[in-house]
């Protein structure tokens, strides 16, 4: 199946006072209709920057999309002008943000903010927009939606605000829904509600979902395919079951090993990854993970391994085969 949204070799830099931040360094991934693509990585690994670039929401300057292509249903978004992009943003591709408190305008009602995009994109009237928005609020499970339409964001709880944000994102029936850490600020019981809601919506409307998170547990629950990012590079990409069964990049493996589990107890110490993630202002030569990697060989310190795309099923960027500990 053809992907709805595809990023090819995307490179994004930020020009700051301290120098150039190499935020995204040649990232490719694709989202398919009805499927959820999980992007996982730690803070500063470029996962958010890559999707913000796809939405053309990177402030320029200081940011700059240096190279690459972003195709939405065959159309290169990087070649569109401002007006062309505005037709797509919010209508074809919508986004949910991490912090539902700061993403709403506190002085406008929830209903006003949800109606806005259907008024802009569909040119419908206030009355019709109101009716539509109430339906959307009901769809995402907000009780007494008719009454809550005129509430302000502070009158909603965190979980409800996130639901309202999902309603806002869905208002123009987008084919791509980008969720940037949508449950990180929420409690686990609310997180479970939101995960279920988005899963259900994705199936019902055949949307492509891109779900960004640092939580491998959430990824295991929702994703169909997973992209693991580190320091602006994709280091591993695979089907979700394959990834958790055969993690093949030393970083993915180390991350999975360092996680305790709620369903079992082991008295062993947690495995750790020494050091901390690199500073994207000055990436080490060679593989960015090499300074923290237990498998690193000489080559890793000089030459950055490309993502091996020979097999679609499971792609890895590593010189070493971790099952044998020897170079590939």
């Amino acid at each position: 199946m053809d992907p709805v949204l595809e990023l090819i070799n995307l490179v994004v830099h930020f020009h700051t006072q301290d120098g150039i931040v190499y935020a995204v360094n040649g990232v490719s991934y694709a989202a398919e209709a009805g499927k959820t693509l999980g992007i996982v990585g730690e803070s500063g690994c470029g996962k958010s920057v890559s999707v913000l670039s796809a939405m053309r929401l990177i402030p320029e300057p200081p940011g700059k999309i240096v190279a690459g292509e972003i195709f939405y249903q065959g159309q290169d978004l990087l070649k569109l002008d401002k007006a062309g992009m505005q037709d797509i943003r919010g209508k074809e591709m919508a986004m949910i943000f991490q912090d539902p408190m700061t993403s709403f305008n506190p002085v406008l009602t929830i209903g006003h903010q949800i109606s806005e995009s259907s008024i802009v994109h569909f040119g419908i009237g206030q009355k019709e927009a109101r009716q539509r928005s109430v339906e959307l609020l009901e769809l995402v499970g907000i009780p007494q939606a008719v009454d809550r339409f005129d509430d302000y964001p502070h009158q909603f709880s965190g979980g409800m605000r996130q639901r309202a944000m999902i309603a806002m994102a869905l208002s123009c029936n987008p084919s791509v829904l980008i969720a940037d850490e949508p449950t990180t600020a929420l409690d686990v019981t609310i997180q479970a509600q939101i995960v279920d809601l988005i899963k259900d919506l994705s199936e019902r409307f055949d949307m492509a979902i891109i779900w960004i998170t640092h939580d491998l547990g959430v990824i295991a629950e929702i994703a169909d395919r997973v992209v693991v990012m580190y320091a602006g590079y994709v280091v591993e990409e695979a089907d979700v079951f394959d990834l958790f069964e055969n993690p093949s990049h030393p970083y993915t493996l180390a991350l999975l090993k360092s996680l305790p589990r709620v369903d079992t107890y082991s008295s062993e110490k947690l495995a750790t990854i020494p050091g901390s993630p690199p500073d994207c202002l000055s990436l080490p030569p060679g593989c960015p993970f090499a300074p923290r990697c237990v498998y690193a060989v000489d080559q890793c310190r000089h030459e950055n391994p490309p993502l091996d795309q020979s097999s679609f099923e499971h792609q890895i960027a590593c010189w070493v085969d971790i099952t044998t500990g020897r170079e590939r």
Binding site: V188, T189, E221, F244, S258, R261, Y265, T272
Partner: protein, 326 residues
């Protein structure tokens, strides 16, 4: 290792924050009942986990135990001394023995102070060591938390989140305490750094026989680090048991729902699990529901639940629960 000796005894502890109205003549119109009658013991050398969702009062409970907030009612008996009636110099002397590690490693270190000054502050307050001995102690502490002693004269902004949390831990250890309240010490850190800090906390506990009250919302990490776990909901403890007992045999419906909602990093298992999905959000602690506070969201609610507060009772040895069921 934990013993049977009680270090901290918390009895019917309450902390209410007043809500006032009026600018000049302020009158109290209500109260946020952040902690509303909790009773439990903390044993010497153990790690007691305190879990619950945001707003359930777990941080307030930790701070009230340390007397950073004075309780509205109830007692905190630390090693035989009731802290709630102690004040002045006597309380300060007690404070040396209990410390806190904070959640946000960015906000909890003074940006204008050097690392050396930050770590030696508790020693200055409690008049421990002086001059050269104090500096030596700072170096020793940096060593303990695995930071380079050359960092002495640097400022907090020069460090990463994980390193800052180590500085916070070194400061907590400076007065040689026996009891440390760890208030979500790892939630602000990246996944790959969390394990480092948890291992460090465990090492320090084994080395110095520390007692921890570990406040967290990450139930997987709590299972790893704690000996016993207390589950809080809307200002009250609903269940308290030893680690394996609580995770393998949760009795309170809230604990059951909470545990079933935690994702497992294994797609096969996490998708095969039966989950209990609670509806709605936790109510406000200003006007908590009558009877059992969990009853509006409880999947097995009975008539009795909305009328009568369930008794806090020991159902199995060491397994306490507040529920009319079972």
């Amino acid at each position: 290792m934990s013993s049977n000796q009680v270090l901290v005894k918390v009895e019917q502890l309450k902390k209410h924050f007043p809500i006032t109205q009026g600018i000049i003549i302020q009158r109290q119109v209500g109260a946020v009942r952040a902690v509303d009658d909790i009773t439990f013991d903390i044993y010497k050398g153990e790690t007691l986990g305190m879990v619950g969702e945001s707003g359930c009062g777990k941080t307030t409970a930790g701070r009230t135990i340390l007397q950073l907030y004075r309780p509205t009612e109830g007692k905190v008996i630390y090693d035989g001394v009731d802290l709630t009636t102690t004040k002045g110099e006597t309380l300060r002397k007690m404070r040396r023995r209990m410390q806190m590690i904070f959640q946000d490693p960015y906000a909890s270190l003074n940006p204008r102070w050097t690392i050396s000054r930050i770590i030696s502050e508790p020693m200055r307050v409690h008049k421990l060591n002086s001059g050269k001995a104090r500096l030596e102690r700072v170096k020793e502490l940096l060593d303990l938390v695995q930071l380079n002693t050359l960092y002495l004269n640097r400022y907090p902004h020069e460090f990463s989140g994980g390193q800052r949390q180590r500085i916070g831990i070194a400061r907590a250890l400076a007065s040689d305490p026996e009891f440390i309240v760890c208030d979500e010490p790892i939630s602000a850190l990246d996944v790959s750094i969390q394990a480092q800090v948890v291992n460090l906390l465990e090492d320090l506990q084994n080395r110095f026989g520390l007692t921890y009250l570990f406040i967290a919302h990450d139930l997987s990490m709590v299972r790893h680090i704690c000996n016993r776990v207390a589950v809080m909901y809307l200002g009250v403890i609903v269940e308290l048991a030893s680690r394996d007992e609580l995770y393998d045999n949760p009795l309170h419906p809230y604990t059951q729902a909470l545990l079933s909602a935690v994702p497992i990093p294994d797609p096969k298992e996490t998708r095969a699990r039966q989950r209990i999905i609670l509806t709605g959000d936790p109510p406000s602690p200003i006007d908590p529901p009558r009877g059992c506070r969990f009853h509006p969201r409880c999947p097995i609610v009975k008539d009795l639940c909305s009328e009568q507060v369930p008794e806090w009772r020991e159902i199995l040895p060491g397994h306490w629960v507040a529920c009319h069921e079972g």
